[in-house]
């Protein structure tokens, strides 16, 4: 599934990497939900490279393609006073430009 054409930059993250979702403003067409911004998670899968939805949304070809990751988050880190089990999780598909390595942003870690 992954596109290994030489002109494509390699993926920045690998499975198991700890990341935090950027706390930035949404793009005009945004695929990153608000409730995940600023939350720490872990990469569980590298899904592949996809055309940029922000550009596709305006009738453009959506290039360069973006790496898309499957990221797992703990529910208790997302919701204040979460009542469920500590092991409860949310899995979201997120594009690379929304993710930052946790070590660069340790102040954001809960």
């Amino acid at each position: 599934m992954t596109d290994s054409h030489p002109e494509f930059p390699p993926p920045r993250f690998g499975v198991g990497d700890k990341v935090v979702v950027k706390n930035g403003p949404p793009e005009t067409h945004c695929r990153t939900p608000y409730y995940l911004r600023g939350v720490n998670g872990q990469i569980i899968e590298l899904i592949g490279r996809y055309q940029n939805p922000s550009l596709l949304a305006f009738h453009k070809p959506g290039l360069p393609k973006l790496w898309l990751y499957r990221v797992r988050f703990d529910q208790y880190k997302i919701w204040e006073q979460y009542n469920g089990a500590n092991s409860d999780s949310v899995v979201a598909d997120l594009y690379e430009h929304w993710l930052v390595p946790v070590k660069e942003h340790s102040n954001v870690a809960p």
């Binding site: 403003p25 949404p26 945004c30 939900p33 409730y35 949304a57 305006f58 959506g62 997302i78 919701w79």
Partner: protein, 102 residues
Amino acid sequence: MQRKVNDVGGLPGEHIDSVDHDATFFEKRIDAMLMLLISPKIKAFSIDALRRTIEENTLDDYTKRGYYEKWLYAIRHLLVEQQILSNEEIDQRITTIMQTKG
């Protein structure tokens, strides 16, 4: 603005009716129209463009309009944006149909 109108995950909301119901004729027609418009042969616009247009709803419209109603308004907006139909042509056709129906 940090949060778009469609991005409601985690917000308190009204009770959600989770009982299944059959799609109405209106819903099926809108669905069919969209599937044809985004099909590789026709490619009037992309599903991403449809989502972007739906996200451009005002909070009031986003709340008031139903799921397929949002699709319908977005389809109309995109057909005009892509210069496939003009607003005048659409309005004229609506008028004609309304008159035929009496």
